[in-house]
Amino acid sequence: MFQTIELQQGIHLHIRPTDQFKTVNFSFKFKQKLSNQAASERSVLANVLLHSNELFPSNPAFRSHLDELYGTIMYLDSSKKGSDHSITLLAESVNDQYLTTGGVLDQVINLMQTILFRPNLEQGTFKESIVKREKDSVIQRIESIYDDKTRFAQQRLVELMRPDHPASIGANGTIKDVSAITKESLFNAYKKMLEEDELDIYVVGDVDVEEMTAKLKEAFPFKARAKKQKNIHENIEHPTSQKNNVSEQQEMKQGKLHIGYNTPITFTHPDFPKMQITNGIFGGYPHAKLFLNVREKESMAYYVSSSFSSAYGLLFVLAGIDASKQEKAVRLIDEQLEAMKNGEISKNEIDQTVAMLKNQLKEALDSARGQIEIYDQYKDLDEKFSVDSWVEKWTSVTKDDIQEMAKSINKELVYFLSGKEELSHEGASL
């Protein structure tokens, strides 16, 4: 799918020439070990680098320049995957051939170089006022989770299940760690990113491989760096939850039911494809047991689904229900998993799930971002990635495999977020 070129030790360029898109996509993924401090610093760093730079020392000047480049999209993003933290520089630019004026692509490469290597400095470090403003921005981003009750409840569940563990460390870090950042500590984080992070560079679009490689080599003269150990996620120690039921209250109308399960199966485990099918039948799709029995048959929920967090060996069920019906909902959800443990799995359910997984993977490959993200994830497994090889794995999964997978799923914690009872009468009057 991609042609991979090792530019330096620890730095890989992956190019996919295709005329499928009207744009060219670039993605620089800087990866480092995930911790609260790293996530906090790197989220602020991403914002500071995007605010301005040596060539465009004010944000509006930088933004105007992007407008002139036919609204080229360029941003830095802070995210996590497994036990890594990533800073990603993304750019998407219209292909020159669709425009009356050319040369946009070269300017985009120059601009990415400027963002990474020529930040807006004052006496050798970042500017105090910009750092302060962007710290505030990241703090506001962390705080805003509170206003989205589904995200908040999910965060609480994972925090309770896996405190101080990559599973519960947020991609933006913590308010405490962000507050502690100084312009000096941020500059150190910046140097560390450029010098020590593992880097994957992706290019997708109608480009010539040799020409693009030469251009990027010249524009981004990164030095070699130590290669990281491959992450074996299942080895991370964690204490088991103290409780198996936690209920919390906020002022709200709906009840948010979030259930956490553990399983020894993770992304790198040979049984990973079996667990994907198992999750699909349990609650991954509209033909799944949860959707059919909790939503359609019992009319209890608008959304009810399961998801498999393969990096951490965790599985989650989420449902929005009437606050008075927690017990019944938990019982119905338990019954669906129990049925799977007892082997109540039809051929039709398996076929539908395989068809959906296959479709999802093929569809994701229809966008440049999808191609980059899927390749970036699957290339870590020791094999050549292809759609056919994954379809093959899914197709060979049997009913017995699924039953065995279901048996490996242990319910760990039921978290329920709902309204405050004494206030529930006045909810609608405001």
Binding site: D19, Q20, F21, K22, T23, N59, P60, R63, S64, D67, E68, Y70, G71, E92, V94, Y98, R133, D136, S137, Q140, R141, E143, S144, Y146, D147, D148, K149, Q250, E251, M252, K253, Q254, Y285, P286, H287, L292, E296, E298, S299, M300, A301, Y302, Y303, G320, I321, D322, D351, Q352, T353, A355, M356, K358, N359, Q360, K362, E363, D366, S367, G427, L430
Partner: protein, 434 residues
């Protein structure tokens, strides 16, 4: 079958109007393995008062019925339609907006089987009182979910402030009380009036052979019988030009206040290319005044009046239109004052010239070209434009012809204090002090 060629964009589209009135468009995209198909009726939440097919008197149906109908289309005598789509690996969905209801799927295999499932399930209604009653629990939870979402409440709060009588002010899903009144008979009345093929559009985009697909659709449609098409008579109340309320607020369990300044549009009667030009002109003007390169944005961001949630947008349909500008903010007063001040400044003396226009025009053209990578964007936006007699593929040429005077003239539609409203969602802990 007609062939339409967009040379500069390197796209070729195929069109045919079926004998029963259904408009079909097919756009093959090279390199794609998926096909995305939407089947849309020009019927949404605002169509609550109308003359039912075959009647002469108008009726008003319960709020939220278009959305309710959308849910109920998926249930048939022999089970749930999602099961069929899953069997062929298709992801199916549907949505209801103010003016449209769309049913859609995407798949990388079994395109004809999935297309048949889509056409047949939307064209074969099955409603019983028992299935209608059962759905009330599910939609009730959907409404409750939205009730807890402060951004959704903010959006509808702002619209409610602007509109006195027009049904755009009513929540798309209705309320628990309004959906309780819905019967199977209501659903049939709405279905027969608005789901006639002559009120619908089918769009196929992605990996598709246009000749074979058109033939397949033609055969599927010719096997079905429909009543004679009849122009649909919708009724809307008289709506004043100015906003209904200048200010309102809601207290919720949020961390930080959320604010929208709404600008109610005076001009809401245009259709076709005039509408496209007008709409794009207002969007460009807003980009100049409130975009990320604007003086306003710089000041508001540096002073901390806005954060990353800051957004602005312009919506226009026949009969209603509005701009919204807002953000989460710890300084709602400063933000509101500065937005109003900025508007006043522009109204008193138009500050933008040719180079400003050129810059935002380039940005917008880039936006359209990028969006043409997305089959979802193409299908949804093409349909929305077609229902307003516009052509999505005209957007770039219309942008290229736009002048500074066009922007200035179009902007008059949302000018003046009479058009302005403010809606805020405030933290509950502040309720006692305010």
């Amino acid at each position: 079958m007609k062939e339409l060629h967009f040379k500069q964009l390197d796209e070729k589209m195929f069109h045919e109007k079926m004998d029963n009135g259904l408009e079909v468009y097919i756009l093959p995209k090279k390199g794609f393995s998926k096909t995305f198909v939407t089947f849309t009726t020009k019927y949404g939440a605002i169509d609550r008062t109308f003359v039912p097919l075959g009647d002469s008197e108008s009726v008003t149906v319960p709020d939220g019925i278009a959305h309710f109908l959308e849910h109920k289309m998926f249930e048939k005598e022999d089970g749930d339609v999602f099961q069929k789509f899953s069997g062929y690996g298709a992801s199916a969905n549907a949505f209801t907006s103010f003016t449209r209801t769309a049913y859609l799927f995407s798949s990388t295999d079994h395109l004809y089987e999935n297309t048949e499932t889509l056409l047949n399930f939307v064209q074969e209604p099955y409603f019983t009182q028992a299935t209608v009653e059962k759905e009330k629990g599910i939609i009730g939870q959907e409404i409750t979910m939205y009730d807890d979402q402060p951004d959704w409440r903010l959006y509808f709060g702002a619209i409610e402030n602007m509109y006195k009588d027009h049904p755009v002010k009513i929540d798309i899903a209705g309320t628990i009380e309004s959906i309780d009144k819905i019967t199977a008979e209501h659903l049939y009345t709405c279905y027969e009036t608005f789901y006639h093929p002559s009120n619908m559009l089918l769009f196929v985009v992605g990996a598709v052979n246009p000749e074979d697909m058109m033939k397949y659709i033609r055969e599927n449609q010719s096997k079905k019988e429909f009543a004679e098409p009849q122009p649909i008579q919708r009724e809307f109340p008289e709506e004043p030009l100015e906003v209904a309320k200048h200010e309102n607020k809601l207290f919720m369990d949020v961390q930080k206040p959320k604010v929208y300044v709404g600008l109610k549009a005076k001009e809401t009667s245009l259709q076709g290319e005039e509408m496209m030009k007008h709409e794009l002109a207002i969007q460009l003007a807003l980009e100049l005044i409130f975009g990320r390169s604007s003086d306003f944005y710089v000041e508001a961001y540096e002073k901390g009046w806005i954060d990353e949630s800051y957004a602005f947008d312009f919506t226009l349909e026949k009969g209603y239109g509005f701009a919204l500008i807002g953000s989460d903010t710890s300084m709602p007063k400063e933000l509101i004052d500065s937005i109003k001040k900025e508007l006043k400044k522009v109204e008193e003396k138009w500050p933008f010239g040719q180079s400003d226009l050129d810059r935002v025009r380039k940005k917008k053209i880039g936006y359209f070209l990028r969006a043409l990578n997305s089959v979802e964007f193409i299908a949804n936006q093409f349909t929305r434009y077609a229902f307003n007699e516009m052509d999505l593929f005209d957007a770039v040429p219309v942008l290229e012809k736009m002048t500074v005077e066009d922007l200035q003239k179009a902007f008059k539609s949302i000018e003046g204090e009479e058009q302005q409203t403010v809606f805020s969602v405030l933290p509950k802990k502040e309720q006692t002090v305010s």
